[in-house]
């Protein structure tokens, strides 16, 4: 592992701004959003694609209007996954690597629903995350925190007939990144989800309640509506917590509405 000693890169990803400068940019965007709500503007439900405090978004967000379309043909369906696509043990991230990983063992469970509250059944859920020290098993993560030889941080499973998923894992740690000086990501688990329609595809991140880094994080704050971003925060659930074994969290995921009618669904 190499300790970073070379000069910081230049360009939009350069970690040159201070946290105070990033905070001021985020506060200005938040103030403008509050004003737009007071003027009768609609509440936003998704992150801004154009969110300058997240420096990597500067050159990677579309600047032209997104085109509104009606889904057709293939877009009304989603890929199908079954039990041969997912290993039986892949929902337990603590038993995959020949030994016990270090950290706080936890269970996260919830339901995947469509916009009408219907369960998304037998569909693929994929997760990936840092270990308890905030380190990913990825060649691009070179920050000086230990790799855990017993933790890869990748899981996948199919939802059940009630749309429910359940992973056993280790609580991830926060980690530094190079967006700005002394930038730290709140602890999170990445989730990848499919619905019944192509248009429902979602990749997102689940966070933990009460994280002190929320207010400082431009990825989380890119969802400018406070109620919307709170939907990414799991709930500590003592009924999921297991005696002398694991803490428990609950997090439900709502995809956008399905465009298929129930009739089409039954004949599909």
């Amino acid at each position: 592992m190499t300790q970073t000693s070379e000069p910081l890169p230049s360009g939009p990803d350069a970690a040159s701004a201070s946290q105070a400068e990033i905070d001021a940019e985020m506060a200005a965007i938040s103030t403008a959003y509050d004003a737009s709500l007071r003027d009768g503007g609609a509440a936003e439900t998704q992150p801004r694609l154009d969110y300058a405090p997240y420096r990597s978004s500067l050159l990677r967000h579309p600047t032209k209007d997104v085109h509104h379309a009606d889904p057709e043909g293939i877009e009304l369906y989603a890929p199908v996954f079954g039990h041969r696509d997912v290993g039986r043990l892949e929902s337990d991230l603590t038993i995959q690597d020949g030994g016990e990983p270090v950290g706080e063992r936890m269970v996260v469970t919830g339901r995947v629903l469509d916009g009408d509250g219907r369960p998304v059944r037998r569909q693929l859920v994929e997760i990936w995350q840092a270990n308890s020290a905030g380190r990913y098993i990825h060649k691009r993560d070179q920050h000086p925190a230990p790799i855990d030889p017993h933790f890869t941080g990748v899981g996948r499973m199919l939802t059940d007939d009630d749309g429910r998923y359940r992973f056993t894992t280790i609580k991830p740690g926060p980690y530094p990144w190079k967006n700005h000086r002394n930038a730290w990501r709140p602890a999170h688990i990445h989730f990848s989800l499919f619905g019944t329609d192509f248009t429902q595809r979602l990749v997102t991140q689940m966070y933990f309640p009460g994280d002190p880094l929320f207010a400082l994080d431009p990825i989380y704050q890119a969802i400018v509506d406070p109620a919307a971003r709170a939907r990414l925060v799991a709930t500590y659930d003592h009924d999921v917590t297991q005696h002398e074994w694991a803490t428990g969290y609950t997090w439900d995921i709502v995809l956008t509405g399905s465009h298929r009618t129930p009739m089409e669904e039954e004949t599909a």
Partner: protein
């Protein structure tokens, strides 16, 4: 088709981040069919940012009908038995921002419909996935009757259409800039 307006607010998206490479790509994800299969074609291209630089940490997903316009609903989208056409592909781009799928030409899913590949793009720096279509052709009667192609400003329409080379189709994805790809939303927030 009728549209159900959502009654529950959706869970917001977040960027796929930089570290998905060991989690989301899978063996054979870029090969919807074996290269040796009759009718196999290549769909490939480069993802560019607003400065015209390749994006080396993007992930591209493909979802499509088979040659006959049938919508696959077979299991095995990750397991890849080499025989079942599941219509789904996923690949990360290489260090030059380039992706490449081996697949088949999608057929029209309904009479009179212009055939297209459905494409999803994820990247570090991209806060929510982008959806688009890669149409096979712009210059025929089907395209003239297509509600998306005909409603996109004429000067941007070409960004939704594949080019062709000796192996198949070329579809570059430009996240930003003068030749920015047209991205689609489907009536949901």
């Amino acid at each position: 088709m009728s549209t159900h307006p959502s009654t529950l607010p959706p869970t917001p998206g977040q960027t796929v981040g930089p570290f998905f490479g060991y989690a989301l790509p899978f063996d054979g994800g870029a090969d919807l069919v074996p290269r040796a299969r009759a009718g196999a074609v290549r769909l490939h291209g480069t993802v560019y940012d607003g400065a015209g630089e390749p994006v080396p940490d993007a992930l591209v997903e493909l979802w499509q009908a088979d040659e006959h316009g049938r919508i696959p609903q077979a299991q095995g989208s990750r397991a890849r038995d080499g025989w079942t056409f599941t219509g789904f592909g996923r690949t990360d781009v290489d260090d030059t921002g380039h992706y490449s799928f081996t697949t088949v030409r999608p057929g029209a899913t309904a009479a009179g419909q212009a055939p297209f590949f459905a494409v999803t793009v994820f990247a570090r720096g991209l806060l929510h996935r982008l959806l688009t279509r890669a149409y096979l052709s712009l210059d025929d009667a089907l395209a003239a009757g297509d509600p998306v192609l005909t409603s996109v400003p004429e000067g941007r329409r070409h960004t939704l259409v594949v080019g062709e080379d000796e192996d198949g189709y070329v579809f570059d994805i430009r996240l930003q800039g003068a030749d920015e790809t047209v991205f689609l939303e489907f009536g949901d927030a």
